[in-house]
């Protein structure tokens, strides 16, 4: 019996820490896709850039937390530039144009990092105390993954508080639920969009940096994992903050459990599950009110 509880705890912790990474990276994408219905395949590039920046700084002996701050701010700034120059002309164009342009951004980002840092995985040097296992009562567990869970929980709590209780959050929810009406009552939805885009890219960078031990930075990162991030967004329901949290956790736990029990089939069972789920609920698990 204790044996099973031990396995269950391992899968749960591994799954939750993986899910936290997915959540931190994808949450910005959820909100921006909910706000403007822009399909953004380039989101993974910002997470990749965050991972590379953290790797670059820590490999040169700079403090890990300084590296994390840089890995948040620089992708945020890059996100702002991308939004202003490339994404803004896309609002009125169809999905096809959005898909194509953002894939173009992925190509550029991929070749930029392979040009600057080489074609191989580029590790982040985590501080020693994170690489050691930690005693959590009934067993020892990876300090790194505990760190991810704590950071993820803090970010989720802060975001939840901001979205539920601040004026900014109220505006955001209103604009996601009914953008036209929000504009009609005088909200500046484009500014709201730019702000969330920048914050979302910053968070993606942070997620890419602290998640580098699980999703390692490499040139193919942006294309390889973007499907995963989009799955979180679409399964959770575009624009749904809670939905993306639930979806990220579910995805993390299901994927981890799959890797433990059905190593051979895990990868395609995950996508097959997504496929079935989307046929069953095309709008996602917890769509925002107006969509549901």
């Amino acid at each position: 019996m204790q044996h099973y509880a031990y396995y269950a705890a391992t899968i749960l912790l591994d799954g939750v820490s993986y899910g936290m990474i997915l959540f931190i990276i994808s949450v910005g994408l959820t909100v921006t896709m909910g706000l403007m219905r822009v399909v953004n395949l380039a989101h993974g590039s910002f997470a990749m850039v965050g991972g590379y920046i953290a790797g670059y700084f820590t490999q040169r002996g700079i403090n890990f937390y300084v590296a994390l701050v840089a890995a948040t701010i620089i992708p945020g700034i890059l996100g702002g530039i991308t939004e202003a120059t490339l994404i803004r002309p896309l609002y009125r164009k169809g999905e096809l144009a959005q898909v194509l342009l953002t894939i173009g951004v992925v190509f550029v980002a991929t070749s930029a990092v392979s040009y600057l840092f080489g074609a191989f995985p580029y590790p982040v040097q985590f501080p020693d105390y994170l690489t050691r296992p930690v005693d959590i009562g009934f067993r020892t567990y990876s300090g790194y993954r505990l760190f991810i869970i704590i950071v993820g929980a803090i970010i989720a709590a802060v975001l939840w508080y901001v979205i539920e209780n601040s004026l900014f959050g109220a505006r955001l929810r209103a604009a996601v639920d009914n953008g036209r009406m929000a504009r009609a009552v005088g909200m500046n939805v484009s500014v709201l969009f730019t702000t969330t885009f920048v914050i979302g890219c910053g968070l993606a960078g942070l997620g890419g940096a602290i998640g580098a031990g699980i999703l390692s930075p490499e040139p193919s990162y942006a294309l390889k994992y973007v499907v995963l991030f989009l799955v979180v967004v679409i399964v959770g329901g575009e624009g749904s903050f809670k939905g993306s949290f639930v979806a990220a956790m579910a995805l993390g736990i299901i994927d981890t459990a799959g890797k433990y029990f059905y190593t051979e089939a895990a990868a395609y069972l995950l996508y097959a599950a997504v496929f079935v789920l989307l046929l069953w609920r095309p709008q996602g698990l917890l769509p925002p009110k107006s969509v549901a």
Partner: protein, 332 residues
Amino acid sequence: MAAMTDGKSDTKGLSPLALVGHALPWIIAIVYYFMAQGYLTFGTNIMIWMLFAISLDLVLGYAGIVTLGHSAFFGIGAYAAGIFSIHVSGDPILGHLVAIVLSGIFGLISGAMILHTSGVTFLMLTLAIVSVVFEWANKAKWLTGGDDGLQGMRVDPLFGIWPFNIFGTTAYLYTLAVLFIWFLIAWRLVQSPFGRSLDGIRQNPRRMRAIGTPVWWRLVAIYAISGAMAGSAGALSAHSTRFVGLETLSLLTAGIVTVVLILGGTRRLYGAFVGAIVYFVVQDWTAKQNPHLSEAIIGVMLIATVLFLEGGLMDLGRVGRRLLGRKPTDAA
């Protein structure tokens, strides 16, 4: 747009000038065969991608189905042809037909399951399908060779006469013939009432449904036809290289074929020709300069096309004429 509405005149009779225009790509392909004997493999590859891009044009350009999973068909066709040649028979025509049928059936079934959705959900479903197929092929080492790719393909001479040699002469002419046949089919298709109805569905599915068009069936049909065509391109790639790699099923492959099509221009079939040539020549050239740069250049080309040249390179003439202040004549 006007090129679409006056499409009837294309079928009634062509002016001599238009006839020369339509013959031009094929003349170039034949001249290339005699002039560039050392680069036939390169030419074959370009024609395979032309065929693949035309198949995407049918669904994405004409029917307005925004998919990112088209590499699933290409890969299934390639693996079907490859596996057939190893385990059943090395006859290229037979293997090719098997690949076409299998990828067509896959298109029919997957299309029937997902084509009632639209927009981002549809896009995600296509991504999920291509991911499932990719990961499955990656794990099914006993059948596909997994990461190492499919090796040991046996390709018999074409019609028992012409062997697929290292110079690629047979592969080149064979690919050219297959491309020509598919092009004629696609050409007839987009001008038929069926093709016209796809045009209508792209522009306004609701109105088409209201006037009695079976929208879902039409979409499933074109999805299956396009899948069969993409599978045919995959089979050509398998037979001409005697190898099938896992990357035929990857998202990158789906991205590249979309780039090829968009660069050239959608909804004109010839766009695929222009796009494939430009893409592979540029890619070949930049890869020689700096391997890291080739992807960046493709990315920049894609971004520029979307922002400034919505109709693709085939639209350059029209854009130029507009800039010079002349009325566009739509002589597509």
